[in-house]
């Protein structure tokens, strides 16, 4: 039952605009499921695994009761979103050039982002 739900969610994510692919990785860093090609998958998996470990270690070192909820790596061309789920984590690679930030009307001023976690809305 859960598996079906997960599959469905993955399908939805994949169908979202701008999403290039999804990789699901187990706790050792070995990709379990992917929608990208093999070489890219292995590439991403290897590189990001260490980053996540480091980030998680950092967060938990400062406060052991805390834990990493997600990690975004934004670059010029695209964005890598990483969500660790306990020990396994999944990743979406997403291009954000399509959200049309350039088309954003000037009337709407941008405010600085704050990331709130927990029960509050995440921005």
């Amino acid at each position: 039952m859960d598996l079906a739900e997960v599959e469905e969610t993955l399908k939805r994510i994949q169908s979202q605009k701008g999403v290039q692919g999804i990789i699901i990785v187990n706790s050792e860093g070995i990709p379990v499921k992917t929608t990208l090609d093999n070489s890219s998958t292995v590439h991403y998996a290897g590189l990001i695994h260490q980053l996540v470990m480091k980030a998680r270690s950092t967060v938990r070192d400062i406060d052991p009761q805390n834990d990493l909820t997600f990690l975004r790596v934004r670059s010029k061309k695209n964005e890598i979103m990483i969500a660790p789920g306990g020990w396994g984590f999944s990743r979406g690679v997403h291009t954000h050039s399509d959200t049309g930030r350039e088309q954003h009307p000037t009337q709407r001023p941008r405010r600085p982002r704050t990331f709130l976690s927990g029960d509050k809305l995440i921005y």
């Binding site: 994510i13 701008g18 969500a83 930030r101 809305l121 921005y123």
Partner: protein, 702 residues
């Protein structure tokens, strides 16, 4: 002759005849006795020769034939002979030139003649060489003295003296040196006789070396490396703690109660295999939210930060900014019949879908959306019959009470897996016979059971209690046109049962509630009095669609109806305080949670009206058309408890969220110098002021 005698000093000369000179030499000492006689007697010389054959003595002298014949006188002549140690052959007349006297002088001539040299191996024991040899030999002094063969007594004290001397000499020096020298001396004294000891070596066969090793099998090894971070330690402690707790629980053998207010809504199983899926699920969910956030990034930004600055220029009007639009594939054809925000998780809201159309009764859907993921619902429960009302429990926000079109009520538990309701009322358990229009959770009763109320078109207000996993109902009140009738009255006339279409419980006074009927009346009832109403208001000409108490003011409530009007009441007064005519049937009305004078209403022409009585008592301050007139009707509206947004449901199954502009959220301005008071009291005061204003003109007109 003298010369001859001198020259032949040491030798015996036998050859010359007549007078022979016989000289005594050392060689001839052997024949000492014989030769002495020879000195005295020349003639006897011959005898001496003969005397060598002393064995022949006694005979007469034997004269050689050629002997000189001397007279007796001549024979008695004495000749003197001199014995000297001069070398007869050494020249006596060696002269050397003496430069001093300028003449030749005779020198002394060496008279020594070496006849025989033999090199001996004897050493004097006191000589250096002897000492050296002694040292080498290392024999003790005593033996050394014996060995040399010298007079032992003489030698001994000598040798003893020498070490003593040595010691005495070295006495001033350091002791060890003297000791060493003593030992040395002793060593030197001992001279080994090379035959005294023998060093003999003898070697056996050396056994050939063999290496024998034994190695057991090494224990299996594995590499272990680990980090010991702060959090690793913390995790270990937590695990340990959990184990202990589990053990305690097992010991107590008490059923463990699941903590309802867990921060994570997903059920986390302790089995290891269940972990993987649930964790992946969670991770995937987060990813979905992140992706959605990216996709709807601008909207999220607007939601949080956008404040319409143009409101400053608009004197009193405000605007509504459309944010997200929620839609669900499976909800096509259904209309939104109920909206409810979750009190605890203020980004979660429930949408009940069904149909108001009597003819088109299909299935229903209970859907939960979160603002964090606006593309897909968090939970969805399909139902057999259309849903008409929802209520989420205030404390236990996973409990949802649902009222259906077919008269059933059900309770869903979001924490539990499965698509079915946890409890459902059936015909046996007293479900309503007509659609249930409103459900409301109440506070837990005395037995700590959850309970909720429902009102339905069959005229009953029922209370349902969850008693040990069962739904037990009790009728609270029966609505009738003539007034409430108790069950047991003897009645010739059948009481005409009114249908309840809406109700609301007072925020503070628990037992007080209002019921709106399909006839347009509103009854004020009490839980305790089941027989009659406290008050009845003739409110509308058509069915009352919604009735709501004010969040702040204890006396004010609002009602709306399909007769195009909204009315605001003071429950102590029989007539409405405010009446608004909206030119279209009003689907729903709702008070705002932040102000006592702001409320919003939706009409079937697709317009949302927001009123602020403080600003404008007669008109809405904002009337945006959210939907085009022909496209759909708006059916429900709800304010978010904390965020300045409202959600509006329509009959297409869409839920639109709108942000309220600042004008719509105005708080009373503080006078300069005064503190801005916040809190419900202020709101109450605001309302009171309004009411008093209204009442004054009323009084004046009356």
């Amino acid at each position: 002759m003298g010369h001859l005698a001198e020259s032949t000093g040491n030798y015996l000369d036998l050859a010359p005849p007549a007078r022979l000179v016989v000289l005594v030499t050392c060689i001839q000492r052997r024949t000492g006795a014989a030769t002495q006689q020879v000195l005295l007697d020349d003639e006897e010389r011959v005898d001496t020769v003969d005397r060598w054959d002393e064995s022949h003595h006694g005979k007469g002298l034997i004269k050689p034939p050629d002997q000189l014949e001397l007279t007796e006188a001549e024979l008695k002549e004495e000749f003197t002979r001199i014995l000297t140690a001069n070398n007869p052959h050494a020249p006596a007349n060696i002269v050397l030139y003496n430069s001093k006297e300028c003449c030749y002088k005779p020198t002394v001539v060496e008279q020594m003649i070496v006849h025989f040299v033999v090199e001996g191996s004897l050493l004097h024991q006191d000589s250096d060489e002897a000492r050296r040899q002694k040292a080498k030999g290392g024999l003790p002094e005593e033996t050394a003295t014996f060995d040399t063969g010298a007079g032992p007594d003489e030698a001994k004290p000598e040798t003893l003296d020498t070490p003593a001397d040595d010691e005495g000499g070295a006495g001033e020096e350091d002791r060890p040196d003297s000791v060493a020298s003593k030992t040395n001396q002793k060593k030197e004294a001992k001279v080994t006789n090379q035959f005294d000891y023998s060093e003999r070596a003898c070697q056996n066969l050396n056994n050939p070396h063999r290496q024998i090793g034994c190695q057991p099998e090494p224990p299996p090894r594995s590499n272990f490396s680990s980090l010991a971070n702060q959090w690793v330690i913390y995790d270990a402690y937590m695990e340990e703690l959990q184990k202990q707790e589990r053990n305690k629980e097992k010991q107590k053998a008490a059923p463990s109660k699941k903590d309802p207010d867990n921060t994570k809504r997903a059920v986390v199983s302790t089995d290891s295999h269940g972990h993987d899926i649930s964790k992946v699920r969670k991770a995937v969910k987060i990813i979905e939210r992140m992706v959605n956030q990216n996709t709807f990034d601008e909207i999220a930004q607007d939601f949080k930060y956008y404040e319409d600055d143009s409101d400053e220029f608009r004197a009193q009007e405000g605007t509504l900014l459309p944010l997200w639009k929620f839609q669900y594939d499976q909800a096509k054809g259904l209309s939104v019949t109920a909206l409810c925000w979750n009190k605890k998780y203020q980004d979660l809201f429930a949408v009940g879908m069904g149909s108001y159309d009597f003819n088109k009764q299909e299935h229903g859907l209970l859907v939960f959306y979160s603002l964090k993921n606006t593309a897909f619902p968090e939970y969805s429960y399909p139902t057999k019959s259309g849903i008409l009302c929802i209520d989420i429990h205030e404390q236990h926000s996973y409990l949802v009470a649902v009222g259906f079109y077919d008269g059933c009520v059900a309770v869903y538990n979001l924490n539990k897996e499965g698509m079915d309701a946890v409890h459902k009322s059936t015909a046996k358990t007293g479900k309503h016979t007509d659609p249930v229009w409103q459900v409301r959770w109440q506070k837990d009763d005395l037995d700590n059971n959850h309970n909720f109320y429902s009102v339905s078109s069959d005229g009953r207000v029922a209370s349902w209690t969850l008693v040990k996993n069962e739904l037990v109902f009790t009728d609270v009140i029966k609505l009738s046109l003539n007034g409430a009738m108790s069950e047991g009255t003897e009645g010739s006339q059948q009481p005409i049962i009114a249908c309840g279409t809406a109700f609301d419980f007072h925020k503070e006074i628990d037992y007080l509630f209002l019921v709106g009927t399909g006839e347009g009346k509103i009854h004020k009832c009490s839980k305790t009095y089941s027989s009659h109403f406290l008050e009845t208001y003739v409110a509308h000409s058509m069915a009352v669609d919604a009735v709501k108490w004010n969040h702040f003011h204890p006396k004010v409530f609002i009602s709306c109806s399909s007769d195009w009007t909204i009315k605001i009441w003071d429950h102590t007064i029989n007539t409405p305080i405010f009446t608004f005519d909206l030119n279209a049937a009003v689907g729903d009305v709702s008070w705002s949670p932040y102000s006592s004078t702001v409320f919003s209403a939706v009409t079937i022409d697709g317009t949302v009206h927001v009123f602020d009585l403080n600003i404008n008592k007669y008109e809405a301050i904002c009337q945006p058309a959210v939907m085009a007139k022909k496209k759909g009707k708006l059916t429900r509206v709800e304010f978010n408890p904390i965020h300045p947004i409202i959600i509006v449901g329509d009959d297409r199954g869409y839920v639109t969220s709108l942000k309220l502009s600042p004008n719509l959220r105005k708080k009373p301005k503080a006078k300069k110098g005064q503190e801005l008071a916040t809190g419900p009291e202020v709101e109450v005061a605001k309302m009171d002021k309004l009411l008093s204003l209204l009442q004054q003109p009323e009084n004046s007109t009356a």
